[in-house]
Amino acid sequence: MKILILAEHDGLQLSSSVHQAVTAAQFWNSPIHVLVAGHSADAVVQQAASIHGVERVVHANAAHLAHPLAEDIANLVASISEGYDVILAAHSSFSKNALPRLSALLDVAMISDVLEIKADNTYVRSTYAGNVLTTIQSTDAVQLLTVHGSNFTAASLGGNAEITSTETPAAFKKASWKSEVRSQSDRPPLGSAKIVVSGGRSLGSAEKFEQVLSPLAYKLGAALGATRAAVDAGYAPNDIQVGQTGVVVAPELYIAVGVSGAIQHTYGMRDSKIVVAINQDPDAPIFQVADYGLVADLFDVIPELTAAIQ
């Protein structure tokens, strides 16, 4: 039995979620291989090889993998899938795009965003906007899944895996990568930040969102998050939306500022260790999931809070 992990990276840096995927893969007690697909991503290959518990890093190097398309990733994994009994990746927009495509190529059902591995073919995942935990069993010979990174501890460094290279199938011709816009931010990434400060529609404008929340986030070394209403209104960029259709976070401290607490939002933050809610409506549903609630006008108390923190 062998396990293949599809690694996510940006060409220079391996995503920290790969470490979490390695821990998840250890459930099967079998050799773990990591596939790094990219162009001149040798640094990433080295990083993957140094994860404790990885036996082999399979390196696919091709120019068209510099900005990999789901089509090319799916074709590549399919081409080397022979002999692997488990194929997995950490859940992200990268794996969500590519692995269902692979699932159809292999004719194997896929289980998305696994929270817990119960047995070697049985998993717990969340459905209905996080209101229901579903335990499912895959009857397919090959297990194909994405795992919810923050539910698994990160595997440590100190490994020394063998590195092999593999042929890459020809580029998929019917799609091409044009451009990307990366949100510029000197704040920690939302998915792995220890503290998250989230704002809602009540901030009122992009300028106020920035003016009111940024100083607090800066002092706390926190990432900024937002509700869908705030993102839709253009107050915050799409990639910081927390919730069912955005990012799911589980920081040590989550501060919800002027957020009503719709289930689609709380789905994305309710595994946070400590939740603070600031809302002027004492009946706002967010208080039902908050450890500490402060009924107040955010425009008064956020500056006060910011000033009070060293």
């Binding site: 699932s103 059902a109 998305s112 906007a129 069993q137 895959s138 019917k174 799409n238 069912q244 500490y292």
Partner: protein, 250 residues
């Protein structure tokens, strides 16, 4: 140009579903159902392309029992030209849905297929990508804008850390994000008119697709609920509370 839109019938997003006492499944008896919100965005985009003169026909397709006629009527009332119901038992899994959709694509030959990026009940987010693979079509998932020029569609996708733009040769598969557009409201007269329009029904069994379930539902349960904590009266009290937790605030 013809556009095919897949619409799924799901529990209304405002409803908190209950679990059957024996934990065997969710209990959706008598619960309010409706069109999957993302599929409304998918349909809205198709209709706008038609209104712009880019598309000539919009066909809505739904898979499930005869109860799914309501989401197809809703689609017709929004402006879809035709509706197709593929009748099958309720618990189709994404691979089976994708295979059934493929047989409709083969028959209808649309130039563009738009699905929702995820269904809000099962939250799998797989069907569009699977369909694209089965057809060997390019895919543009989590789309927040799309633009068609000649035989090409340019798609901006919402990804972790920002957005990405791809160009896809038609025919292609798109999955819609909520920010793709703001779906129109259905007017009552349109709904009345949609009642009279025919819905073509095809029995899934006739399409020669293996619908066997690959995933077995073992049990459902409720996640641990967070308990409401306390209300504090001031910023100072809040900070004192937070500082009492080790390492959180200095």
């Amino acid at each position: 140009m013809k556009i095919l839109v897949a619409v799924k019938r799901v529990v209304d997003y405002n409803i908190k579903v209950r679990i059957k006492p024996d934990g065997s499944d969710v209990d959706i008896e008598g619960v309010k159902m409706g069109i999957n919100p993302f599929d409304e965005n998918a349909l809205e985009e198709a209709l706008r392309l038609k209104e712009k003169g880019v598309a000539t026909e919009v066909v809505a397709v739904s898979l499930g029992t005869s109860a799914n006629q309501d989401v197809l009527r809703h689609s017709l009332a929004m402006g879809a030209d035709r509706a197709i119901l593929i009748e099958a038992s309720a618990d189709l899994q994404p691979l089976a849905v994708a295979k059934l959709l493929k047989s409709i694509v083969t028959r209808e030959q649309p130039n563009l297929i738009i699905l929702g990026k995820q269904a809000i009940d099962d939250d799998a987010g797989q069907t569009g990508q699977m369909l694209a693979a089965l057809l060997d079509y390019p895919q543009g998932t989590f789309a927040s804008t799309l633009q068609i020029e000649g035989e090409e569609v340019t798609v901006t996708r919402e990804v972790d850390g920002g957005t990405e733009t791809l160009a896809l040769a038609l025919p292609a598969v798109i999955t819609a994000d909520l920010r793709l557009n703001e779906p129109r409201f259905v007017k009552l007269p349109n709904l009345m008119m949609a009642r009279k329009k025919p819905i073509e029904t095809i029995n899934a069994a006739e399409l020669g697709v293996n619908l066997d379930a690959r995933l077995k539902l073992i049990q459902v349960s409720e996640p641990a609920v967070r308990k409401a904590g306390i209300k504090v009266n001031s910023v100072e009290e809040l900070l004192n509370k937070l500082r009492s937790h080790e390492g959180i605030l200095v």
